[in-house]
């Protein structure tokens, strides 16, 4: 009973907040609805027994990605009338993309559950005694090790690419030399002067 109630609660909230992400007028509200959607999706994952994925969803998407999103959106000064002007023009194209994605999901699930090749290649069901993390780790670091490492290399290339694209050497920046600051002692900075009246100090 509680499971069913929790499922419908999370599912309804995911759908509603997903819809409100698109519909809300304020971009900050959109991001917040998106965060709520992520959060409830994590709840659904927990109901499936995939607690590791659920925690990663919250840590990565809610905790890091969405914060940066919010960060950017809060700082931007977006004109909504302008942004919404093209809505009708883009609607058919958007619907087309949505249809293609839907078809791909249906095809993917259909092949996964029915295709003979896929059935033969599928990893053996993991021991139910194992926790999520051990099961995923066991597969990831044995069977899919090359894919895993390839994904790592792709991410590294993307990271280096982002740094190369945005990094520029700027002139006239006064950096702090921490070692030099730490070496500085009072006698280097302070001088006691017994100054005769009416005269300035030679620096």
């Amino acid at each position: 009973m509680i499971h069913v109630f929790a499922f419908y609660l999370f599912a309804i909230l995911v759908v509603c907040s997903g819809a409100l992400t698109i519909l809300s007028r304020n971009p900050v509200h959109s991001v917040l609805w998106l965060i709520l959607a992520f959060f409830n999706a994590a709840g659904l994952m927990i109901l499936l027994g995939a607690e590791f994925i659920a925690m990663l969803l919250v840590i990565v998407y809610v905790g890091a990605v969405a914060v940066l999103f919010l960060f950017v959106v809060m700082m931007l000064d977006i004109d909504f009338a302008e942004l919404r002007a093209g809505f009708v023009d883009y609607l058919p194209f958007g619907l087309l993309i949505a249809l293609v994605l839907l078809a791909e999901i249906v095809l993917g699930i259909g092949l996964w559950s029915a295709g003979p090749i896929e059935l033969a290649q599928r990893a053996a069901p993991t021991n139910p005694e194992l926790s999520n993390i051990q099961a995923i780790g066991g597969l990831l670091y044995t069977r899919y090790i090359f894919l895993f490492e390839a994904a790592g290399i792709v991410l590294l290339v993307a990271m280096i690419g982002a740094i190369v694209l945005t990094h520029r050497a700027r002139g006239g920046v006064k950096g702090q030399n921490v070692a030099k600051q730490n070496r500085r002692r009072p006698q280097d900075a302070v001088r006691n002067v017994n100054q005769p009246v009416g005269q300035g100090v030679e620096l």
Partner: protein, 349 residues
């Protein structure tokens, strides 16, 4: 406890729900009481270090000061700036406070005395602590005022930066314990050199313990990393526009987070509910008392640092997080996993 309510004739689900709600209350109410007392302790320690008296008027030794303050803010008027985003302005402190209490669900107070003994306990804490930033960011944005907004931006950058190194530090502990479950992590700390309890006595993990303590201060935005509420630059930071209970919720949430971080320090590195020395008579003292003693010790360290260390500059804070803690913690992930590969997991093959 579920079994007890089932014995009274409730169906399993009802009994589970009831016992969970009672469990939540049994944890949250003492935490809130502890927050009130720890604010008093913080002020007293700070005062003692500055050769002042601190709160000493309300109740014996000023013990009831926090409750008097609580009553005061409760009776104040909640002011919402006219330019503020009303809903988000009010939701922000609620998020801060709720999130600060949520993480306590997986903290073990004794073997088996834990509300949710889930096997991803540490990840849960990481997930919840990464939510904490939303309260600050939303309050900064919804106030529609420039100082809170600066503070929100500082806070989100700071918390994300330090979460990275905290993540690596936690991975070291998890590698050593071989589990994400907090109870198992605590149990795995038994018997270093045959008589000490605590990962902190492990030479490979001791530097991590120190770094975690410092990162915890940065993560909770305590002094010397309290740049989000640097009063000389940002008035009161993200709380500037808040008054009354909304302000009090921030205050309570902040201190609940500090206690949680102290508890995590104790649980991950100093044996949690285990006595520090693996000696039979010490086990007669209930585990919860050891845990409390360790939490209070770490809170004293937090207050001590607050009273004695001047505030960091923002560039120093970022440098410490990204250029010192991140590479060092990454190095230790490498060292710990390498050590375990060569010893515990059967040597290189």
């Amino acid at each position: 406890m579920t079994a007890f309510f089932q014995g009274l004739g409730l169906p399993f689900e009802g009994a589970w729900l009831l016992s969970t709600v009672i469990g939540i209350l049994v944890i949250c109410l003492p935490v809130m009481l502890a927050v009130a007392m720890i604010i008093y302790a913080d002020r007293k320690i700070w005062a003692a270090m500055a050769l002042r008296r601190g709160p000493n008027v309300v109740g014996p030794f000023g013990l009831l000061q926090s409750f008097a303050d609580g009553l005061k803010v409760f009776l104040q008027e909640t002011i919402i700036p006219s330019a503020a985003n009303r809903t988000l302005f009010l939701i922000a402190p609620i998020i801060t406070f709720t999130v600060a209490l949520m993480a306590w669900a997986v903290v073990p107070f004794q073997v088996g005395v834990v509300l949710a003994n889930i096997n991803v306990g540490l990840l849960y804490i990481l997930a919840i602590s990464s939510l904490g930033v939303y309260g600050v960011v939303l309050s900064g944005w919804a106030s529609n005022s420039k100082y809170p907004f600066y503070s929100a931006i500082r806070a989100s950058a700071q918390m994300i930066s330090y979460e990275v190194s905290i993540g690596f530090i936690l991975i070291c502990v998890v590698l050593w314990a071989g589990s994400f479950n907090l109870t198992e992590i605590v149990e795995s700390q038994k018997g270093y050199y045959g008589f000490l309890n605590g990962n902190g006595f492990n030479p490979l993990l001791f530097p991590m313990a120190i770094m975690f303590l410092i990162s915890a201060m940065a993560e909770t935005a305590r002094a010397p990393f309290d740049l989000t509420e640097a009063e000389s630059e940002l008035v009161a930071g993200y709380q500037t526009e808040y008054s009354s209970m909304a302000f009090a919720l921030f205050w309570l949430g902040e201190y609940a987070n500090v206690i949680l971080m102290c508890a995590l320090n104790a649980l991950l590195f100093w044996g949690g509910y285990l006595p520090p020395v693996d000696w039979a008579p010490l086990y007669f003292v209930p585990g919860i008392i050891w845990l409390f003693a360790k939490i209070l010790f770490f809170f004293f360290v937090f207050s001590w640092v607050k009273a004695t260390v001047p505030r960091y500059r923002y560039d120093q804070l970022m440098r410490l997080g990204w250029k010192i803690f991140l590479p060092t913690s990454l190095l230790f992930v490498f060292l710990v996993s390498g050590f375990l590969m060569l010893t515990r997991y059967g040597g290189a093959q």
